[in-house]
Amino acid sequence: MTEPLISFNDVDFGYGQRTILQALCFSVEQGELLAIMGGSGSGKTTILRLIGGLVRQQRGSIRVRSQAMESLNEVALRALRRHMGMLFQAGALFTDLSVFENVAFPLREHTRLPERMIRDLVLMKLHAVGLHAVGERMPSELSGGMARRVALARAIALDPPILMCDEPFAGLDPISLGTVAGLLRRLTKSLGLTTLLVTHDVEESLAIADRIILVGHGRIMAVGTPQAMRESSDPFVRQFIDGTEHGPVPFHAPGPKLGALLGLERP
């Protein structure tokens, strides 16, 4: 039996006294497209940051490509990260570089390819996200959705075996959304990538993911295929899939009632 590409074993993470994730256990197989879903602040992005080694867990073990993250030094971590591409929530484009130079950045840093080849590769990556015509623009001249597409092109510039996308569909118009979702599915299946998506887009995730993880209250609340999720009778899953206010996940942040704050009722 082969080892999963990524595995979390009893992982706890928090900031100071605040616990974000606790006793997290799951694994991701090679070539899988996994969607991580959950409410705002449920720790979805933190899972990606833990895999990338940007933050370290307080307890438990995380293994990526057969390496225990907690035992890696800076040099080994950098070497491992060369096998990862990450699309950040806000894009994280370099604001002093053009769109073209942003996508060329990892190629220039990690390869000694001739300029002509870098140009061709960058144009191909930009074409994949529908933006080969805006290479000369600066990031400040792009819409939020376009910036995120450029960031996706940059994340796949080196064809990394592991691709992590934080909210890749946020701010995209329906055409771009469908195209980017199709691109992620195609990249995963044709190039054999392993893709992790953090997203709120239920429909798109159900359409392209192989498996979905639902995170809530710092734990994994449900895991399953899109089909299993659709058919689930679990109240947590149903509330998330149907997008209803009433259910185990409260819409309002915990705290005193509005009536008490307005002085209309006793606390």
Binding site: R78, R82, M84, M86, Q89, A92, T95, E109, H110
Partner: protein, 263 residues
Amino acid sequence: MGRFGMLGLRSLGAWVIAQLTQLGMLAGFYARLSMLFWSAFTRPRLLLAQLHFVGNRSLAITLVSGLFVGFVLGLQGYYTLNRYGSEEALGLLVALSLVRELGPVVAALLFAGRAGTSLTAEVGLMKAGEQLDAISMMGIDPLRRILVPRFAASLIAMPLLAALFSAVGIGGGYVVGVVLIGVDSGAFWAQMQSGVDVVHDVGSGVLKSVVFGWICGATALAMGWLARPTPEGVSQATTRAVVASSLTVLGADFLLTALLFGQ
């Protein structure tokens, strides 16, 4: 000890630990930055771009300030020396003041205000915009790729800016003393030539400006690197960078002067 006493002691302890942690982080940061200094020369294009950014863009303010400081030195120096009938020593006074003290110190203070704030804000905003995390996730060390070229550029630019400040200042002193007031031109230059020791005076000034370049560059980058990743955090870090750099430069100047010129 009462309950309030214990609480006070606990707060004091927490504050001391926080300060020591911060100090340790700063020391580690400065040490890594200094150790990686030479690696900046393996990427000459990055270094040149940063030299242009921190050096060339600080040139105008440095030259203009140097000129006015030279004017004032020429004027004040003449009034003082004239009382003792030794106005021919004006060139020496202007040159020594600038080369030993004012050149390195004022250029460093201007550098901290002009280039230092830019460096802090740039690095702080890169942190707030997750750009440093993005670089890390590409398997690149952001310290080596982003910070070291900026640090090396500060270290190289500072002595050059201080030298230009002193040169323009001497020109300013000449204009006021010789051209406007009428001090003898030959005496102005001859006194300067015989009284300024290249190794002791000019060398000390260069050494000071290298140290100040290290202080200004490292402090500005450290403040940006350790800034809270919010607009307020970056704003506070920028202010802190100017204050910390300026005070450290002035303190270091006193120590260096005592060491270099002490009997």
